[in-house]
């Protein structure tokens, strides 16, 4: 038993490690291509970002070019880049001049706070509603969650956020529309992201509950005289859990993308916000750093999902 678990553990970690490496290389290459493709003189843009548009002249742009080594041949820059990346150095922001690692560390807390609040909200809403729908298919909870999930898929995060902002904050004035640091600022972003995720969560839970409840082994458990509660506890929960966790892992991509959108929408100073600003200013080291961090976060969450699945069902997935 223990050997199987360790084997499974090693396989999961190995697969995900390779994935993290491939994705890092992919991001680095894309960012390198990005540097090469930039239209116009990058030095001018960076100088404008630093000193303001009115204070840019050729001398300032030349100074920037010298400082950042923008005149080197492309392959040298790329080799340098990969070398730095391999050493865990993400370079310096082209706009602020600060180390990317520090800037990102500064933003990470806010992102994690938002993500945690949204996931808590999604689970708090989605789990009970999904359970109720799965146990009584066709009942009011089922219809409600079906309607909500269709509506929420037609209302993507930024539209939902926009509507919540216009409704709750502009029309009613209950909560601040955007910002960070005051009470109630977290409410709108977390509500936007959490609501979007909860619709999907509820449907996933509903489908796996229904599959288990309609299965032969579950009916047999009831037939042999177990109370409904006991049957659910002994035979239902684990089997539901493994499907829900596995499927939720696939949907984590919505969380990462949602963080980017919702943060920019509500001026929440997290990594997604930083990324959009970096794209705006073409701050390539910062784009690379933020993208890498979000991608690693995604891989890490997926790894945790895999491990959780393995813990619930030590046999591992049926087919590789």
């Amino acid at each position: 038993m223990a050997a199987i678990t360790q084997h499974g553990l090693a396989r999961v970690l190995g697969q995900r490690l390779i994935q993290a490496l491939v994705v890092s290389l992919l991001v680095a290459t894309l960012c390198f291509v990005l540097v090469q493709q930039l239209p116009g003189d990058m030095a001018f843009r960076i100088a404008a970002g630093r000193y303001g548009y009115d204070y840019v002249d050729a001398a300032a742009a030349d100074a920037v070019r010298q400082e950042l080594g923008l005149a080197q041949p492309a392959w040298q820059q790329f080799a340098h880049w990969l070398q730095q990346l391999a050493h865990g150095q993400l370079g310096q922001s082209l706009v602020t001049g600060g180390a990317v690692l520090e800037e990102i560390g500064h933003h990470l807390g806010a992102t994690l706070q938002l993500a945690a609040a949204s996931v808590a909200l999604a689970l708090g809403l989605g789990l009970p509603l999904g359970l109720a729908s799965g146990l009584r298919p066709g009942g009011w909870a089922d219809r409600l969650t079906l309607l909500a999930s269709v509506a929420l898929r037609a209302l993507p995060p930024f539209l939902l956020g926009l509507m919540l902002m216009l409704g709750l904050s502009v029309q009613l004035g209950w909560v601040p529309a955007a910002g960070h640091g005051e009470d109630g600022n977290l409410l709108l972003p977390a509500l936007t992201l959490g609501l979007g995720l909860s619709g999907l969560t509820a449907r996933i839970v509903r489908d796996s509950v229904l599959a288990v409840v309609q299965s032969d082994y579950y009916r047999f458990a009831l037939t042999k005289g177990l109370s409904p509660w006991r049957a659910f506890w002994r035979h239902g929960l684990r089997n539901i859990g493994v499907t829900v966790v596995a499927y939720a892992g696939v949907q984590l991509v919505l969380l990462i993308e949602g963080v980017v959108v919702v943060e920019s929408l509500f001026a929440w100073p997290g990594i997604g916000h930083a990324l959009v600003h970096a794209v705006f200013w073409r701050d390539v080291p910062m784009i690379q750093g933020c993208t890498l961090l979000l991608a690693w976060l995604f891989v890490l969450l997926n790894t945790l999902t895999d491990l959780l699945c393995l813990a619930i069902d030590p046999r591992g997935p049926a087919e590789p």
Partner: protein
């Protein structure tokens, strides 16, 4: 199951909505030709018979802008989905057919791309040429091909290993015949379902980027961008925000309703 009775109803609604939106995209720019023409004397003019949605803060026809933005969104999304499905589908079949090293390499690349949430890929690409139509298209298509690749590969492997295909091969039929007669009928329904989902994703990504200011740039008429531009004038003319919001929500709703409502699992 329970909702089977509802299926025709919501499908019909979806096709109706989609038809109206395509009509807007095709006929709209013809009826209201120029989305960029400003008439500053008439800024924020109320709706009239000639201009059903009035004019915006620069006196541009909102109807013309909405129609042109819809055409842009649908066109770009269709282009992305076609390219992604073609690329992903071909590579998927290739991977299943060749196996071995080809399969390993392609799967490695696909796993890497899959670990990068699609929006991030599109964001990196949108930084390459801000406001560039081509780069946005490339980014969206590259973010989407993996889905088609994985599904096509998984399904093709099953089909190619089946006795039918073996029989065809033994009878001497070539790859072209096997693809046409065995693979395509198996793959096409799945690809169509995925395409409606991919359209929604692409339309959404385009407007999201426009909304946060890193997608297409003004003066392009684009749904997300229109919302951002009109937001400061929300109190005077909420219709400027609501028109693109409504078009986007209805388009996405139609694409969602096209698919079966039950999540099959």
């Amino acid at each position: 199951m329970t909702y089977l009775a509802l299926l025709p109803w919501h499908r019909r609604l979806a096709w109706l909505l989609l038809g109206l939106i395509v009509l807007l995209a095709v006929a709209g720019p013809w009826l209201w030709p120029d989305p960029a023409r400003q008439d500053l004397m008439q800024f924020l003019a109320s709706p009239s018979l000639a201009e059903p949605l009035g004019r915006d803060q620069l006196g541009r026809s909102v109807m013309a802008r909405v129609a042109s933005a819809t055409r842009l969104s649908l066109g770009l999304a269709a282009l992305c989905v076609l390219s992604a499905a073609l690329l992903g589908g071909l590579l998927g079949v290739l991977s299943a057919w060749r196996g071995g090293l080809t399969d390993t390499v392609l799967r490695g690349v696909a796993d890497g791309v899959l670990a990068l949430p699609g929006l991030l890929i599109v964001l990196i690409f949108s930084a390459m040429a801000k406001g560039g139509f081509i780069t946005l298209y490339l980014g969206l298509a590259l973010a989407q091909w993996v889905e088609y690749f994985r599904m096509t590969r998984a399904r093709s492997r099953l089909v190619l290993a089946s006795p039918h295909v073996e029989a065809s091969r033994l009878l001497g039929f070539g790859p072209g015949y096997i693809v046409r007669r065995h693979l395509w009928p198996e793959l096409s329904p799945m690809l169509l379902t995925m395409a409606s989902f991919g359209m929604a994703t692409a339309i959404l990504a385009l407007s999201t980027l426009g909304y946060v200011g890193v997608g297409l740039q003004p003066p392009a008429a684009e749904l997300g961008l229109m919302m951002t531009e009109a937001l400061p004038h929300y109190s005077e003319a909420p219709r400027l925000v609501l028109a693109p919001v409504a078009v986007l929500a209805l388009t996405l709703a139609a694409l969602v309703l096209l698919r079966p409502l039950e999540v099959k699992r």
